[in-house]
């Protein structure tokens, strides 16, 4: 491949992988069976679109099943959100290129809840940090953070350099987090992740959660993982008695002796919530996004909003995957949300929406309130002041217009 026998695009893809592998001291390549990539016009820019167009024209094709992450446009909402029509046209071209290259444009950051559930030990090349930490931690599959060009390279060559979380030695826990309180709402799981992630920022830090009294459900693990990846740049965690590589604390640490422990108490969690400031008292932008909502989250939101109305002047955005929205419509959840005045966006994530900074200014949104600790972190580049609140508190704020 490096000599170009399978064409120039494949040669260049392997070259990229080779250099990254060399950087990390990888000794070999390993085959992958599934790829998930991030590629939207907001993140790729014109340079990225040019690159993809050249690739597609040169005949480059993906040989491993590959899906796409959330993107920056829901085409049904471009006008309503005041997004740029020219950029939307580029996004359509980009999607066309990807499909030409054999990419399945699912536009979801919850592929693990909607498209593909990897098995234990399966090797992947997934992008979007939330998907990676899910695969490594909950499934026991093996992947590094594979960004757009790297994921695309993996789909073209069918392999990745073996470093990082493909190797046993990096999958062992590096410190212990004793969970001394029961966590309920998604925001509480996210709050714990913020505390653990911020204080241990490193890709190779692997927390081991011990003492969890009630086994979490999938959506709680989703919020925990997404926020750990966001605040800590982490790609894996263990939870003793819950995740597959942590039947015991000893097994999770893999023989490593660790003197580093941290403890999460109820007071710590409450301090996170108390730590957010609302300088101007406004609360007209409430978001359920980052990651996209699962069907069960849609059901919960439909129940909380049922029979209520979003406060006049407040915008509530919910994002989900196309497949989830279809089910939510068939089951009547989407109608309940829309009747309450909630806007449901499909195939996107709020923090990557094209034109978000100007959208914020045009709508007078200074604060963003969400139950997702991840988006509370990621959206700040758009100069939002962000506030984490529990799911029912977000709904209450959305419907009353009163901040609490």
């Amino acid at each position: 491949m490096l000599r170009g026998k399978r064409g120039e695009p494949v040669r260049r893809a392997l070259r990229l992988q080779f250099e990254v592998g060399k950087f990390y001291g990888a000794r070999r390549f390993v085959p992958v069976s599934n790829v998930h990539m991030m590629g939207d016009i907001e993140v790729m820019g014109d340079g990225g679109l040019d690159h993809l167009q050249r690739l597609a024209q040169s005949g480059a094709r993906c040989r491993v099943p590959i899906t796409t992450n959330a993107r920056c446009f829901d085409f049904a909402h471009v006008e309503r959100l005041g997004q740029d029509a020219g950029e939307a046209a580029k996004e359509r071209r980009l999607i066309g290129c990807l499909r030409e290259m054999n990419v399945v444009t699912t536009d979801t950051c919850i592929n693990y809840q909607t498209v593909y559930q990897p098995h234990f030990g399966e090797r992947l090349a997934w992008g979007d940090t939330g998907t990676v930490i899910w695969a490594n931690s909950v499934c026991g599959a093996r992947t590094n953070f594979e960004s757009g060009p790297a994921a695309m390279a993996a789909a073209m060559t069918g392999r990745v350099p073996e470093y990082g979380f493909h190797l046993d030695r990096h999958r062992r826990g590096t410190f212990v987090v004793e969970v001394a309180t029961e966590l309920k709402d998604f925001a509480e799981w996210g709050a714990m992740a913020k505390l653990v992630g911020e204080s241990h920022q490193s890709y190779f830090a692997v927390p081991v959660f011990a003492g969890v009294k009630q086994a979490p459900v999938a959506d709680q693990l989703k919020h925990l993982g997404a926020a750990l990846a966001s605040y800590g740049s982490m790609a894996m965690y263990h939870m003793v008695g819950v995740t597959p590589e942590a039947p015991t604390l000893r097994a999770a640490l893999g023989g490593r002796r660790t003197g580093r422990r941290m403890r999460i108490t109820r007071a710590d969690i409450e301090r996170v919530f108390a730590g957010y400031r609302n300088p101007d008292g406004s609360c007209n932008f409430v978001v359920f996004s980052g990651p996209q909502q699962s069907l069960l989250e849609m059901k919960q939101l439909a129940e909380l909003f049922d029979g209520r109305r979003v406060h006049a002047g407040t915008t509530v955005l919910v994002t989900t995957a196309n497949s989830v929205l279809a089910s939510a419509r068939a089951l009547g959840y989407a109608q309940k949300l829309e009747a309450a005045g909630v806007a449901i966006l499909e195939g996107v994530c709020v923090y990557i929406l094209q034109n978000l900074t100007r959208m914020r200014a045009a709508n007078g949104w200074t604060n963003m309130i969400s139950n997702s600790a991840k988006i509370v972190n990621t959206i700040t580049a758009h100069k939002f002041n962000t506030i984490l609140r529990r799911t029912h508190e977000c709904v209450e704020i959305a419907c009353t217009g009163v901040f609490r």
Partner: protein, 152 residues
Amino acid sequence: MRRDRLHRGIPVSAASVTIRVDRAFGPVVEGEAVVSDEGFSPRYDLDRWSGVITRRGHKLEGVNIRDKILFFPTAKGGIAAGWAFHDIKAKGIAPKALVFGVTNPVMVQGAVFANLTITEGWSRDPRECLRSGDIVRVDPAARTIRVLKRAQ
């Protein structure tokens, strides 16, 4: 504190400062150092149209990264860096090099894709032996960073 002492009390000649790095990729570059106490994400911290760090409260808020050699203790968050470096390079606002204490594969993949110099791991903490404005040379093949000229 330590930095103040180095620069005010004990003169350190430029030639005496060499930082060895653990891993490196890219061409040799020379340029003005920007030394940060805080980690970095091109997604969360950077306005990718102007090249200015815009995240509220970031220790480098308001700094333009164009043509700079950036020293960050850590990399933060997201997958976006994979495309972002290529994008900001195409827009002409890319830094010359990224020097990390600890980084993640996304930064490395993104830098390799954009052919941007990147290093990880350092023998001396740049916060203790460099300051923003110093002119430095990053040599990935030799895995060294040398100070060429001190900031005035």
